[in-house]
Symmetry: C2
Subunit: 352 residues, 2 copies
């Protein structure tokens, strides 16, 4: 091996979820929204303009639209290239202590990847048997705390009173609530921001606003924490948000009626789908997200996963201890879920 390899960073490459390129598939594996973004987004496409110029490095129009919508000051909002970018910047900015940061053992699969990349010590906290987070586990000395609410890939949510319990015990470290799926029926911690200067809430346009293809995520917190994030971001890449993201993101926020309508449809489909899945002998924790995390009484998840894939139906399977008999199934349109159920009925009939 050439000597120049000595100084090259060694990482275990992360493999993102499958993105099939064929057209005729039912794609329920990456928690996208089955509805297109607001028609106002498509209209705004024509006004993108100015592609030859650098975008506003502060993305002020988008930041302003989010702040107004959330009832915050502009200085309390940070935007990035999807919540992955925002969360990675958070790890780099806020987790520089010697004590381990704490997060659940079953959770968003990027947390340990970032911790490894930025050499942040971490300690996993076991979920309870019912997949819920026990606030007691977050009452020891630590270098910071992060968890999704609702949690992924389980879909289980935690009430605000439990989140406050964690915050009250941890005034000396940054606590990040990752709310990627919060708009599908779970309470947001944004209301706690005023009371806790060490709280940061992260959300995204990828799920409830149907804009995974644009890559927009954002963090909300005290203006001092947001400034710390911006300082790191500006040291890294000033112009992270491109002009289409700024213009189309703002248009999405402006269409409140469409947002309410599509998220309601997804929640309705989810509740109906839960009932159908129970009839087919699946069990799953009650989900407040746009997916359910389901296991069959008799048939191994890996078998269902492979069989569905052969029928061009993509769901997500994680071959990891503790969750290797579960499927994470995104809530698509009613008709997509019907197709999936039809497949399941046939497959289970043949297999059992």
């Amino acid at each position: 091996m050439e000597a120049f390899w000595n100084n090259i960073r060694k990482v275990t490459p992360y493999t993102p979820g499958e993105q099939p390129k064929t057209e005729n598939v039912i794609k329920l594996n990456t928690n996208e929204n089955p509805y297109p973004p607001s028609p106002k987004v498509t209209e705004a496409l024509e006004s993108i303009g100015r592609l030859r110029m650098y975008p506003d490095p502060a993305a002020s129009e988008l930041v302003g639209a989010i702040a107004d919508y959330k009832g915050l000051k502009k200085e309390q909002v940070f935007v990035g290239v999807g919540s992955d970018d925002v969360l990675a910047m958070c790890f780099l900015t806020f987790f520089n202590g010697k004590l381990p940061i704490l997060f659940p053992d079953i959770t968003y699969s990027f947390y340990d990847v970032w911790a490894e990349l930025f050499q942040v010590p971490y300690e996993l906290q076991k979920l309870k048997k019912d997949f819920s987070i026990d606030p007691e586990d977050y009452k020891k000395k630590n270098g910071g705390i992060i968890f999704p609410n609702p949690n992924a890939p389980t879909g289980v949510d935690m009430g605000l009173s439990k989140i406050e319990e964690i915050l009250q015990e941890n005034p000396d470290v940054i606590v990040i609530v990752d709310e990627a799926y919060v708009d599908f029926g779970c309470e947001s911690a944004v209301s706690l921001l005023e009371k806790y200067p060490n709280l940061l809430v992260v959300q995204t346009f990828s799920k409830s606003r149907s804009l995974a293809g644009l890559r927009i995520g954002y963090a909300m917190g005290s203006s001092a924490l947001i400034k710390a994030l911006n300082d790191v971001k500006y040291s890294f890449n000033s112009y992270t948000m491109n002009q289409p993201s700024i213009v189309l993101g703002k248009a999405a926020i402006a269409d409140e009626a469409y947002f309410q309508d599509t998220r309601r449809k997804i929640m309705e489909t989810r509740e109906w789908f839960k009932g159908e899945m129970k009839k087919l002998d699946f069990h799953f924790p009650d989900s407040k997200a746009n997916f359910i995390f389901a296991s069959h009484e008799r048939i191994p998840a890996s078998q269902i996963f492979e069989a569905a894939r052969r029928e061009n139906i993509y769901v997500r399977y994680f071959n990891k201890p503790g969750i290797d008999n579960y499927l994470r199934i995104t809530i698509g349109t009613h008709s997509e879920m019907e197709s999936f159920l039809t497949f399941l009925r046939t497959f289970i009939g043949k297999t059992v």
Copy 2:
């Protein structure tokens, strides 16, 4: 100060160039292209589609288009959110040694920012009196080398034979040639890739392809080096390139005639502008970029900068030792440069 600040990263915030929001300005301060992107880019806007789905994390269509255009394999191209993102990833991936990396003392202002952020030791190499890079300075033990060609903010280029001299002396470290401005009349090091497995060449769509607003940069190198970059990128954020960037970037590459036409116009305007500036007693190193780095015989650069700004003409002034009497002037359209010259004639007449 609350205890949670102890673990927050301390950085000196970087301030990007001014982005005036009013309409009636002549903006020659951030090296954008005065011509709109190819009309094919605007047409492609309508086909962006699929905003609700995650973009292809490998951005294969864009990577493929660039690889075909450059005569490389797909595995030899890495794309990122502007060349700033690509270069930051390069620092993180390739500069992990204990010896200092080397770059010029007068150069792109982000190199030392990234080195500080990622704690990479570095040593500045003085430019020669004529602002050129001396290859002799890059023949000592080091942890890696990076320089722009042509250099910024000077616009001075280095011939391929000198670049090869540096490569031949440094087989054990990664050498990065940052070619943000290469399309305006300078020789690219892409032709050396086959011979030097430790060479990486970085280019951008922001200048010669008029797409600063989209944020597309790319690195070219051996497939092994590109894999190392991708491994780090996937550990960070899988979906960095949004759908508009992928679709519109590909459309820009497809319109070769437009690319050749606009870059020729800029080079012609630059050469004519050089002559006019000499008549007004400016001196400057000969530039191969879409800007010139000029100093007036009698009037301090800071004065000209302020006076131009009052007339809504934006050029860039760096208040740094060694270059604090220079202005970096982007080449706009012929008519924008005429306006700037008219301003200069009046201002110099009044001042001297």
